[in-house]
Symmetry: C2
Subunit: 337 residues, 2 copies
């Protein structure tokens, strides 16, 4: 008899069904047993409200069906969307996701990797910034936006193509003199290729360009200083700006408003990421859109792929341009209504 | 000797240290052993890079140090912030968090609760919409925004006070005729008290008000119709609007723009939630701010509290008003710079 306040065990199910313990185990694990036995076991499971103890199962199979996601936070709209999509991609495959908010802290990132190893998760997906992050070979790891080692797949947008696309779009929209504004991590990572792509696009289209690259620790005020230095006779030298993220477009628009420069009339701006109002409204600015759902799927697919002897070291996924109010013409056929 | 490609076990540590298995166990579990033994065991742990198998430990202690968070998604800025804050509150207590994106789906919510029980998590925090959600008494559960049963603590903002605050603020800002706009779940839940609070505030201040309450499935166009019905001689009847969420302020502003009504000059608007641009910029509108960090802390605190015979059935946490550009005057002393 099942005691009160104690969850029924496999043994209780066997007793209730009047079968051997091995038969219960076979039914639970989907192995072939006689139909009448199967029915008796399933009835006993229902009657006792027996739940498989996944911890015991995980210990036995050496599988936890759990993946850890390391990401700075979920309140930045890009990270929030990415965490959501990875969660869905894992769910489709019956995997659970541990959310590990790292707050960009290298120590926390390393601690989470260690914790994930201790807890024997089946894999780790990491969007990390620790330049010396140590990752144990024993656990599958997929990195977003940054190559950690040749054995660890890195998944990113095609950042180079995105930068180039921004330059070409500004040229198509009639810009004659453009600027590139960047602030962020000085780590070697995939998003840094946006700069090279943009330069390449400007050169290909004979579009003169200036650059202002700020370090992580810099103040956004330095962009204001840079823009003010490029004011002559009450007009801005630039008629087009490519900002390395939509977040920077947000800051730059505030600076331009203060300076009395109109967007998009005086200067057109393109950002990068594809952030939408409330995660689902309009694009917050004209932007190069990262394919978040595809990035999530690719991360999960490569992470859980067990029969692959060589995993691709770098996967770049195609980006698209979307109109979001900070450029002059609305394009036909874009995603935005 | 430790075999390659296989994690060291407690036995390996005992062999390496030249002590009994029980001694290793005592050191790992912080029980008293002779200092020299302790040093030898710790050295062996370091040398072998031994990690405690948390699965085995969890099985033994019947603890997983894992909490499941059920939330519709992380791309809506309110949910993204809440998931982040709960993650931090759990981390402080050395707990891990399983993120379970439910997409408002009642079936998925129930499945996640079942999954969480099967996986023997130590507790569940849920922001759910399933009217018939079945929650097993055996696992601690804390609900956000909705009472599930008298035995399950419900944590929410003080929504009634927030609605009242919105009415009083509009009165203070000189409004003479106001409207309340709501769309959303018809479930009995805490956010529904915003309406009663608003009515109460209007009555207390002798402020005439109209209401437009839409069901979940309704189109936002019905707000446009309602507002157009209240246009006379090119002017809107209302000089103040309280929207039940910041998300609705976003939609209503677009409608008003189309109608040629200026915000805040012609009509002042207050929302609810406290959403900021990019999760950390300016408030997207003047708003009643939910205390997200405090809600997260209270959820985790009550969930993990084991020595409480009676847990509070409903906890309401204080809200604040913040200026965000859709009201006329910037208040002194608010959160927003």
């Amino acid at each position: 008899m099942k005691k009160k306040n104690s969850a029924p065990t496999m043994k209780d199910v066997a007793l209730e069904a009047g079968v051997a313990l091995g038969t219960v185990s076979k039914v639970i694990n989907g192995l072939p047993v006689g139909e009448s036995y199967k029915i008796r076991v399933e009835e006993a499971i229902r009657k006792l409200d027996y739940h498989v103890n996944s911890y015991a199962q995980g210990l036995k199979a050496n599988k936890t069906y759990t993946v850890a996601l390391l990401i700075p936070n979920t309140y930045h709209p890009y990270f929030g969307k990415l965490a959501y999509q990875i969660n869905l991609s894992l769910l489709k495959r019956k995997y659970r996701m541990l959310l590990c908010s790292t707050e960009y802290d290298p120590g926390m990132e390393q601690e989470y990797v260690k914790m994930a190893q201790q807890n024997k998760v089946d894999g780790i997906i990491g969007l990390t910034y620790n330049p010396d992050l140590k990752v144990d070979d024993s656990i599958p790891f997929v990195s977003i936006d940054r190559s950690l080692s040749p054995h660890i797949p890195c998944i990113a947008s095609d950042n180079f193509a995105g930068g180039q696309m921004a330059a070409e779009k500004l040229a198509d929209l009639g810009c004659k003199n453009v600027a590139f504004l960047r602030i962020g991590s000085s780590l070697t990572n995939e998003p840094n290729k946006r700069k090279a792509g943009f330069e390449n696009g400007c050169l290909a289209r004979n579009l003169p360009y200036s650059m202002k690259i700020l370090e992580d620790s810099a103040s956004i005020d330095e962009f204001e200083q840079f823009l003010r230095e490029h004011m002559h006779n009450g007009r801005l030298d630039f008629d087009g700006i490519f900002c390395v993220t939509d977040r920077i477009v947000y800051d730059v628009r505030k600076i331009l408003l203060k300076m009395g420069i109109r967007v998009p009339d005086d200067v057109q701006i393109i950002g990068f990421d594809g952030i939408k109002d409330f995660g689902e409204g309009d694009y917050v600015c004209s932007t190069i859109v990262q394919p978040v759902a595809e990035i999530a799927e690719m991360c999960v697919e490569l992470l859980l792929q067990e029969n692959m002897t060589t995993k691709p070291p770098l996967v770049c996924l195609p980006v698209t341009y979307a109109y979001g109010g900070t450029t002059k013409e609305q394009e036909y056929g874009d995603e935005n209504k």
